[in-house]
């Protein structure tokens, strides 16, 4: 813990101390929210290798022979395999968008900084609950990969990875998500932290693919205040990040049209996420991270309770 604290203090850009303090308070609620947050506290919904027997099932071709309960065979002359309740940590992969568009920020920090903060906060939260956390940063390709680990010292690795990157290139979301799906056959939670300013079709296909592979998906849609409110005034030359073109205009005149297009886009993303059962949250970079997480977690809690009941 001491080591972690020193790392936090060194990485102020990623996680400020007051944010850490807030995140600590979130822990109590987080336990109830994230399934398998802490080992043994919850039953896993998945079957797997563990020490606690669950039930028998008749052997079918393809089952591993090592799971055959020979005692039952000796008594009944039939092959049964033993099923155990899996007792595993939550495998969470944090996908952080490091494309050039994430460099935008009207305030003191960019969207990428904010995304890193969210990723760090979640990593901290999950590691505190002894879940395994991995981090993947990407732009047009995967830049850095930190495989999921649950060791406390892993947090430093995560932070180092997050701080190592500067957004540079365009986003190619579908290829990234497809790659993640291929590399992570074991189901887990995937948290995508991005501004989603990319090919929408690729985004939706990628999300659908991950859901198809059984992953639990969370999307933190990080947007700057100016992107949401567009409060520019005076003649302005907008230079597009990710080679999206330039435009000199009076932003006041285009504001209504911009906001309308933005709203349409957000509605579309929200609708698509809902359709694929993806938790979706738009987060303003001006909002406190804890507030964003609290809102998100409370919403997720409500959703789980509804599922169980």
């Amino acid at each position: 813990m001491t080591r972690d604290s020193s790392e936090f203090s060194q990485r102020k850009r990623s996680l400020r101390p007051e944010e850490l303090a807030r995140i600590s308070r979130l822990e109590v609620r987080a336990r109830e929210v994230v399934e398998g947050f802490l080992t043994g506290m919850h039953r896993s919904p998945y079957f797997g290798n563990s020490i606690e027997f669950l039930q028998h099932r008749e052997y079918v071709a393809g089952d591993e022979t090592r799971h055959i309960d020979w005692k039952v065979w000796s008594k009944t002359d039939k092959y049964y395999v033993k099923l155990f309740e899996e007792e595993t940590n939550l495998r969470t992969i944090l996908l952080v968008d490091a494309s050039e568009s994430m460099r935008f920020g009207s305030g003191s920090s960019s969207k990428f900084d904010y995304a890193c903060s969210i990723a760090a906060a979640l990593a901290y939260l999950l590691l505190r609950q002894q879940d395994s956390v991995g981090v993947v940063t990407f732009d047009s390709a995967i830049r850095n990969v930190v495989p999921p680990r649950s060791k406390q010292t892993h947090f430093g690795t995560v932070l180092a990875t997050l701080t190592a990157d500067e957004p540079k290139r365009k986003t190619d979301i579908f290829q990234i998500l497809r790659r993640i799906a291929e590399d992570n056959s074991r189901r887990g939670m995937i948290v995508l932290i991005s501004d989603l300013l990319t090919d929408r079709d690729g985004l939706f296909r990628g999300l659908k693919l991950l859901r198809h592979r059984g992953h639990d998906l969370l999307v933190f849609h990080v947007l700057d205040d100016q992107e949401l409110d567009f409060e520019y005034s005076g003649t302005t030359r907008f230079e597009g990040l990710e080679e999206t073109g330039d435009l000199t205009c009076d932003p006041r005149a285009l504001r209504d049209g911009y906001l309308k297009a933005m709203q349409t886009y957000l509605d579309e993303v929200r609708r698509e996420c809902a359709r694929n059962k993806v938790d979706y949250q738009v987060i303003r970079t001006s909002e406190h991270i804890d507030a964003a997480l609290a809102s998100f977690l409370s919403k997720r809690l409500g959703m789980r309770q509804a599922l169980r009941s």
Binding site: E239, L241, E287
Partner: protein
């Protein structure tokens, strides 16, 4: 810059400011362009949405920006016009531009027609009200305002009621009293004189605004076909004088006037009725019916009122009166109608000098051998006192020995020749207004007549001709006649005609000349049976055509065959009747005819009365009094129509050295003759005794009775192309607030400017970003 200034000059008071400000119109455009060039750079991620918005709103944004730009340009223009003081009315602009000094010259028409009654008042009173309002409005204006008030009656003398007086409250109070006491004259004046007077006062001024306000009733007679008047106005307009023609009468008024008094008043005798024709003219636009005409003699209404059934517009209809004067001496007659729009012309005055009888001299050239003189005397006075004429028959020598001026007419009957002094005395007599009749006979020596009487002597008759020209200006164009006392050269031998004494054919036919007109008409038939057997014809060479000859001699009667038998001509102030046959029965049978007596009486009236129409002078004519200094006291008294007596003093006339031996004359002139009526000039003989009276009847001029107003459209048409001249309608006083117009424009401009600013702000607000309170919540994490 200069051309820009001149471009703005017709519209704004300060064209230089407008020219300088014109550059500012480009300011919004420049600011817009500079803003387009000066931009900040923002690296932006969500370009996709921004580009989509730009694509969708490109046209709308462009239009909105153009409108906004236009509004801002208009605001700048509005501000410039406000500062440069936009004035739409050119006359108001001229007035304002002149800056401090404004000279109002008011030409107030106070001629007789302005007495025309309009609703509840007169045109003149309306005009005075306008003057008051004009002064009142001008007094409220800033800057130096001056007033010159010219009455049309004083224009010819170049006098003014007020001259370049500063318009302030003091002047307002002073003029209020002056205008209150100011009365309209009865006289006729020429508007050109008024414009001349105004021009003399306005044109020398070069600084300041100059305005001429002409307040008149604008009658047809004054304004239509008056090229001089239009030229005068045009000259004023060209000289940058703003001319306001202000009509004070709006509608035509019906007006009847007594325009003529004609008759034998010149030969009126006591106790003898005199026929007087009174002409009433309808100056209105519709017929007048049942018009009553009354007569007053010496302030007593006579019981002889006449009614004229109908008078068509423009017509003059005569009413006949037989008026008798009981006593000899001076009498005043007044013929009057009921009051109408213009009361001044509803009466006409006449002063009549009634004689006990009129002496007539008949010169018998044959010393009693002819019955002509006797027959003439019988015809003139059949019974003593019946005709008011006292004939006296005398030989030729009588002319040399007795004063002729007491005789109203002299009949020369069969006079062979005249001694030279008698001829000169006769010439003087006729020249000074006496009447002369020639009757020929067998004693007449044509050679003498042709040699001595045919041609006017050198210098003779000049005085009379001059007086004649003065009294009747219309005759000045007439060729001066050189005809002497006898009008026609005679043939040397008489001409006898073969006549049937029983024939009833008309041998003598009259032409409608003077008093002989009835003989050419209804009395013509009574000449049947009258024959001229012998006469002295005019010389062969003499042209029988009056018009071609044009020597002032008029043929009164011709014989059958065209030979003239009776002729009339003027000699000085007198008239001459020439009959080329005898007065008696020697050569003709007409003394035996009934028609002889009327002919002789009419010839007497023709010769005795200087004019068949009672000579009437217009009001305003000065009364000139000339007196021999030795015989009269210099104190002269004028008795006005209202009975008041005004004493004036006659002063000696300055005489040249060459005329130093002439008797000294005193002269006095009385000018205050505006009131119609009888003016009595009373002079006292130096030897004492009764005052000598001289009566003058002054009447309103007929020209002022023509109240028909000129059509404003016609006046405007005449004024087409004349700069700076505006015709104002009656009751339209908006021109008085000429400066208010400038203020109105400013007010309108301010309102427009406010509207533009509000519009600009509204549009700018619409195009700018103003976050509503709940907006941030829109994208909060749902």
């Amino acid at each position: 810059m200069g051309w820009l200034t001149s471009l703005f000059s017709p519209f704004v008071l300060n064209p230089a400011v407008a020219a300088a400000g014109a550059g500012l119109i480009a300011a919004p455009i420049l600011i817009h362009l500079i803003n387009r060039m000066r931009y900040r750079k923002v690296r932006f991620a969500a370009m996709e949405f921004l580009l989509a918005s730009q694509q969708k709103n490109r046209r709308r944004v462009l239009i909105e920006q153009l409108i906004l730009l236009l509004l801002r340009v208009l605001i700048v223009i509005g501000l410039i016009l406000l500062i440069a003081r936009l004035v739409l009315d050119p006359s108001a602009l001229a007035l304002l531009r002149a800056g401090a000094k404004t000279h109002h010259v008011v030409l107030l028409d106070d001629s007789g027609s302005m007495r025309n009654r309009v609703v509840g008042s007169t045109a003149f009173e309306e005009a005075k009200d306008i003057v008051r309002k004009l002064i009142s409005e001008a007094a409220r204006e800033s800057g130096s305002q001056q007033l010159t008030l010219i009455l049309l009656s004083q224009a010819k003398q170049n006098a003014a009621l007020v001259t370049e007086a500063d318009i302030d409250d003091e002047l307002l109070n002073r003029l209020d009293t002056t205008l209150g006491n100011l009365a309209c004259t009865h006289q006729a004046f020429d508007l050109s004189d008024g414009l001349d007077a105004a021009r003399q006062r306005l044109l020398p001024e070069r600084s300041g605004a100059r305005l001429l306000h002409v307040l008149s009733d604008f009658r047809q007679t004054d304004w239509l076909d008056q090229p001089k008047l239009l030229n005068d106005i045009g000259d004023l307009g060209k000289s940058d004088v703003a001319v306001n023609l202000v009509r004070v009468a709006g509608t035509d008024s019906a007006n009847l006037a007594v325009t003529t008094v004609a008759g034998d008043l010149g030969v009126a005798s006591a106790g003898i009725p005199v026929r007087v024709s009174v002409g009433i003219t309808n100056f209105g636009a519709s017929p007048a019916e049942n018009v009553a005409v009354g007569v007053t003699q010496d302030r007593q209404t006579l019981p002889v009122a006449e009614r004229v059934p109908k008078i068509e517009p423009g017509d003059e209809v005569f009413a006949e009166f037989d008026i008798a004067f009981q006593t000899p001496g001076r009498h005043a007659l007044r013929f009057e109608l009921n009051d109408d729009a213009l009361p001044a012309d509803d009466m006409r005055h006449a002063a009549v000098d009634v004689a006990a009888s009129h002496p007539v001299l008949i010169i018998d050239g044959t010393a009693g051998r002819s019955d002509g003189p006797g027959l003439l005397a019988d015809a003139l006075a059949p019974v003593p006192g019946l005709s008011g004429v006292s004939p006296r028959i005398a030989p030729v020598d009588f002319l040399r020995r007795n004063p002729l001026s007491e005789y109203r007419a002299i009949y020369m009957v069969n006079v062979p020749s005249l001694p030279p002094d008698a001829a000169r005395l006769l010439e003087n007599y006729v020249e000074s207004g006496g009447g002369l009749a020639w009757f020929l006979g067998d004693g007449v020596q044509p050679e003498f007549y042709n040699a001595e009487l045919l041609t006017r002597r050198e210098g003779a008759g000049e005085t009379g001709r001059r007086r004649q020209r003065e009294n009747s200006p219309s005759r000045t164009a007439e060729q001066p006649s050189n005809v002497g006392l006898f009008p026609v050269p005679l043939a040397t031998t008489r001409r006898s005609r073969e006549l049937n004494p029983l024939s009833q054919a008309l041998d003598i036919s009259f032409r409608p000349v003077g008093r002989f007109k009835p003989f050419a008409g209804e009395l013509g038939k009574y000449w049947r049976g009258t024959h001229v057997a012998t006469y002295l014809p005019a010389a062969e060479a003499w042209d029988r055509d009056d018009d071609r000859r044009a020597d002032g001699v008029t043929t009164v009667a011709r014989l059958r065959g065209g030979e003239p038998i009776a002729l009339m001509h003027r000699y000085g102030e007198g008239r001459v009747l020439t009959v080329l046959t005898s007065a008696g029965q020697d050569w003709t049978n007409w003394p035996r005819q009934f028609i002889y007596v009327p002919f002789v009486l009419e010839s007497f009236k023709e010769l005795a009365s200087r004019d068949s129409t009672i000579r009437s002078r217009d009001v305003g004519t000065p009364l000139d009094v000339r007196l021999p200094a030795a015989e009269f006291d210099p104190e002269v008294r004028i008795e006005r129509p209202d009975g008041t007596a005004i004493p004036i003093r006659a002063t000696p006339i300055a005489t040249s050295a060459s005329a130093s031996d002439a008797p000294l004359l005193l002269e006095a002139t009385y000018l205050e003759t505006d009131e119609p009526g009888i003016y009595k000039v009373l002079t006292a003989p130096a030897s004492g005794g009764a005052l000598r009276e001289d009566w003058h009847a002054l009447n309103a001029p007929t020209a002022e009775s023509r109240l028909r107003l000129a059509d404003p459209q016609v006046i405007r048409k005449q004024l087409t192309g004349v700069a700076n001249v505006t015709l104002r309608d009656p009751g339209d006083l908006s021109w008085l607030q000429v400066r208010e117009a400038g203020r109105d424009v400013r007010l309108v401009l301010v309102v427009v400017l406010i509207a533009l600013l509000v519009g600009e702000q509204a549009l700018a607000y619409r195009m700018s970003y103003h976050p509503p309170a709940p907006l941030r919540a829109r994208f909060r994490t749902a």
